[in-house]
Symmetry: C2
Subunit: 338 residues, 2 copies
């Protein structure tokens, strides 16, 4: 069998380790897109301190490209793996990947936070398979050095595309597991994509959001009583939406999360983003969930207030990045901002 | 008539101008308690740039004391005016003022933000009259210089004490207006204390809180849609509680607040406090309102989430001031923090 041709977009802490996993497996040609640090990585590769793959210096995959366009020149990809942050209100992943996606051929794999991520891809690429990777990994890119502190654990499923036989989508998901899994990581096929996503959302939609708004870590969220008064009610709302969507989440997960707050001072990713002034993954973590809740007519009063409040936080993040300009002179025409 | 003996506690932007007003009127002996800058103020007085009283240098009232205890030594007060921030979860105003309050004699005047402030005073001093001053003034203490940019407008009422005839309380409120009002300020007796307080709360409970949580000013609150999606629903909840409490607030106030967001970039006091790392007036602005809502069985879902979230913000503020210590070692016994 000839090697699969894979392009990976998004070489942060997670993406770089996924690329390592693909290379370590050896069944694919692995190309990556590196936008910000292209020259540096092209010349020197990465320094990676990995619990899975050891301490690597000058590590490079097969090919490194500065843009998706450059990567797509003269070749087609069997797989495009997207491991960027998912910020549809800033830039749409389905547009970013477009040059590398051959309609009816390329399989897309979204190893990203959030919920119901396949929807815009299936709308845009109705004849392509879109896989889901739910990653549980501790890995960070700190000034170009990758520190992976917990094993790459990833559950692969498919976002159900009604235009393609499920058996075909399932086979493709398992095929991707074959080229990504290896003796170091823990990559498995998991049949129920919604279950995976709801389970992770139980934390992300409730802990990320409350910590991001209040500026406290999970220990202080619990000590201040807000875990109990806001986050846990929000968790029950996630469970209610999941149930209406055909997914039974055990309330044991809530006990697990509560206990996890005792184990150490942890800042969820959305709080880290706010502290760094980065746009937050509000739409994929909470916006998409509320869209589904609305479709299923499930009431989510707590999650809705959290979402609505975080719109202002996101506004502040975007303004800080120059993505929004607020005129100095008042009054202004507000209509264009809403 | 002999001069009334007045003690004022809290010489920030508001309190200092109130003291000026009392002195300008001339009917009282005005003593103030200055804790932090006692030596400086004792020697040099204040520099006050006031739209009401002009530019004053080395301004001093009749007496300046370093503590309430020192002020109370050898004298009794007819009035104790409290113009400190009201932070019952940090320090209780009714305890701070205690040395200066003669049971059955001293009239207490609370010129402070918040709602239902009289309750703990009437509980502690059942035979004293407790007046309410709702102040609309722009005045700030910046490094010991007072800048008063809008007229001192204050509405005086009484917090109804069931142990004292209303006519006596009303007469006392009017008497205080007589010694505080002058040709420069705008101090009036306003019979309906609840109306005043609910009206101010319509802004403070909904704009202060959402801006404090999201870190944006009122212009950005509107541009991001959060004024519409969170603050205004919260305003309708305040109106609902007020109605159940016998106070009819016009929804015209909401239009007025929305319009005020267009006029300039304004940071409500609670956001300013968060940015400075100061404890916020959460309990008197929102906690007391929710207590009354509960007593009246009015549902306040939005206000409740805002209040609950801000408990974590307040935790962070208090920890920053050394008022809470979180042990570095985990796990710890959380029970004592809740």
């Amino acid at each position: 069998m000839s090697k699969a041709n894979v392009l990976l977009i998004g070489t942060g802490g997670v993406g770089t380790v996924v690329a390592c996993g693909l290379v370590h497996n050896g069944s694919s040609t692995v190309s990556v897109v590196v936008r910000r640090d292209y020259e540096k990585v092209k010349n020197d590769g990465w320094t990676i301190n990995s619990v899975d793959y050891g301490n690597l210096t000058n590590w490079k995959p097969d090919n490194i490209y500065p843009t998706v366009e450059a990567a797509a020149k003269g070749q087609e990809f069997d797989y495009v793996v997207i491991t960027t942050k998912n910020l549809p209100d800033v830039v749409k992943s389905e547009d970013v990947a477009e040059p590398a996606i051959t309609p009816g051929k390329t399989t897309i794999i979204l190893i990203q936070n959030g919920f119901d991520l396949g929807r815009p891809f299936i709308a845009k690429y109705p004849n392509n398979i879109c896989l889901s990777g739910v990653s549980h990994i501790g890995s960070h890119n700190h000034n170009g050095v990758i520190n992976q502190i917990s094993q790459d654990k990833c559950m692969i499923s498919y976002f159900e595309n009604p235009n393609i036989e499920n058996s075909v989508q399932e086979a493709k998901a398992k095929e991707f597991v074959q080229i990504y899994s290896n003796d170091k990581n823990n990559v498995t096929y998991f049949p129920d994509v919604k279950y995976c996503r709801y389970e992770k959302l139980l934390y992300n939609a409730t802990m990320n959001t409350t910590c991001a708004l209040t500026g406290v870590d999970t220990v202080r969220l619990k000590l201040s009583g807000v875990l109990e008064s806001v986050s846990i009610p929000a968790m029950y709302e996630v469970i209610k939406v999941a149930k209406a969507d055909g997914v039974d989440l055990s309330t044991d997960f809530i006990d697990f999360i509560v206990k996890s707050c005792d184990s150490g001072f942890f800042k969820p990713s959305m709080l880290v983003d706010v502290e760094k002034g980065n746009p937050i993954e509000l739409e994929v973590i909470l916006g998409n969930l509320l869209t589904v809740a609305k479709e299923l007519k499930v009431e989510t009063p707590t999650l809705t207030v959290l979402y609505n409040l975080l719109k202002a936080t996101q506004f502040r993040m975007k303004e800080g990045k120059g993505l929004i300009k607020v005129p100095e002179d008042r009054p202004i025409n507000d209509a264009e901002y809403n």
